[in-house]
Every structure is written in C-alpha cells, then in structure tokens.
C-alpha cells in the first residue's frame, strides 16, 4: 500500500466511470458512471490525506464533500430524469438533446 497504488485504484475507478458516462444510452446508467467517477475522487482524496498530509484534516473534509456530492448528484439526477420522463416520455440520452448546440 503506497500513495501510488492508491492513486492507481482511483484512476482505474475514474476511467471505468468515464467509460460508462460516455457510452451508456440510458440517463440512469449514465449517472452510475458519474457515481463511479466520484468514487475514484473519494479514493484519491483519502490516499492524499493518508500519505501526504495526515496531520491536517483537510483531506478528510474533502472526502466528506465528495460523498455528499455523490448523494446529491443521484437525488438531482433522478429528479431530472423523472421530470424529463413525465414531460416527454424520454429516458435515453440520444432523445434528450435540447441543450445541444
């Protein structure tokens, strides 16, 4: 266990999540990709806290913020998907291109 291996795990999780966020058609699956990316951020922040500056609590606070962001992202994402589905019967990214261009 070193900082490098921890960051490697974070990078792997982030990239798997990025693949999902880019490739999934369903908006809900896309959100799972985003969650995995934030998961990587949590691991990286925890690793930096432990191996770079364990004396200060800043890294832990960053982990706390990232976990909160994860929960809020899911809540808002589902609210938006529900609103979109109600209004237009759409739950696919390809059909929800209103903000494009």
């Amino acid at each position: 266990m070193t900082l490098e291996t921890f960051l490697l795990l974070a990078a792997a999780l982030f990239c798997v999540g990025l693949f999902g966020a880019l490739s999934q058609q369903s908006v809900v699956m896309l959100m799972m990709g985003l969650e995995l990316m934030i998961n990587g951020v949590v691991v990286a922040a925890a690793g930096f806290w432990f191996w770079v500056s364990p004396g200060l609590p800043d890294g832990q606070v960053l982990v706390l913020v990232a976990i909160t962001v994860m929960a809020l992202e899911m809540a808002m994402g589902f609210a938006v998907v529900t609103a979109l589905f109600r209004a237009r019967d759409v739950d696919m990214t390809d059909d929800a291109g209103d903000l494009k261009g």
Binding site: M1, L3, E4, T5, F6, L7, L8, L9, A11, A12, L13, F14, C15, V16, G17, L18, F19, G20, L22, S23, Q24, Q25, S26, V28, M29, M32, G33, L36, N39, V42, A46, W49, F50, W51, V52, S53, P54, G55, L56, P57, Q60, V61, V63, L64, I67, T68, M70, A71, L72, M74, A75, M76, F78, A79, V81, A83, F85, A87, D91, D94
Partner: protein, 168 residues
C-alpha cells in the same frame, strides 16, 4: 496482510465497477455498483479512516437500494426479456477511457509526490469532527445548504405539476 487486503479489494472494486456496464440488467448493475462502493469503503477502513469508511458503506447501501427502485422503473431490459444494447459509441468511449487511464498512470508514477508531512492523529474521526465544527465550518454550512436546496429542487422537479405549474 494489509497489502494483500488492499489489492484484493482494489481488484474487486474495479471489477465490480466494470461489471456495472457489462451485465444486461439495470437492477444487477445497481448491485454491482454497490459492491464497488463497499470495496472502496473497506479501503478507507484500511487507512485508518474508520468513520468515513463506515459512512461510505452505510450511505451507499441505502443509496443503492433507493437506486434499485428507480432502476426497475427505468429498466431498458426487464429481467433480460428484451435483449438490447444499452451503449452507443462504445469503442470511442473505451478508447478515451483507456487513453486517460494511461495518462493518469504515467502521471502517478512520474510526479515526485511530496514527503509525508505530519503523522495521522490518534483518532482521525475526532480530528475531522473538530475541524468541521471549527476552522472548516464553512464547508459544513455549504454542505447543509446544498442538501436543503437539493431536497427542495428535487421535490419541485419530480411533482406532477412540474417546473412550470399546471398549465404548462
């Protein structure tokens, strides 16, 4: 011992994360994501972050159970009865992800990381609590307001009348 646990959990976390986009049912994908989060929670426990590790484990169990309900609602392939692809441009996305991972990995091993400053406190949870109730209280306040705003916004968006009222 800890090293072995780290590697096992790391491989499991990434494998479960990859399984999210491989399995053909969105309910199964939710539980694969939960497995990935649980492994990450256990990784945090390994580096003395007991409170945050347990927080991740408990929160993600709840979050994924809620998510499973929504997954069933929006499932594209219920119980594998309507086999279909859930991806678009998978090759491009895989290319971008692999390239980014290679770049990040190169950076991780090329950057001279700073020396470790200080030692972990005897009780990291106590240090965290003291800082968010003291010098880092602004963070806690912003988190609180953000959660409140999210609750209101999510309810407004999800109610039947919607964002623009009944006549919209």
């Amino acid at each position: 011992m800890e090293d072995a646990a780290f590697w096992v959990l790391a491989v499991l976390a990434v494998a479960a994360g990859a399984a999210v986009f491989v399995v053909d049912s969105m309910a199964r994908a939710t539980f694969a994501l939960l497995a990935s989060f649980l492994c990450v929670g256990a990784e945090l426990l390994l580096i003395d972050l007991h409170y945050l590790g347990v927080l991740v484990v408990l929160m993600m169990i709840m979050e994924m159970l809620v998510m499973a309900v929504f997954m069933v609602m929006y499932m594209m392939n219920p119980a594998g009865l309507m086999p279909m692809t859930m991806m678009h441009n998978a090759r491009g996305a895989a290319g971008i992800s692999v390239a980014l991972f290679a770049a990040l990995a190169a950076g991780i091993f090329a950057v001279p990381w700073p020396e470790r400053a200080g030692r972990p406190p005897r009780d990291p949870t106590f240090a965290l609590g003291e800082s968010i109730m003291g010098p880092k209280m602004l963070v806690m306040m912003v988190i609180g307001i953000a959660i409140l705003a999210t609750m209101i916004a999510a309810v407004v968006l999800a109610t039947h009348r919607g964002r623009y009222g009944d006549d919209a």
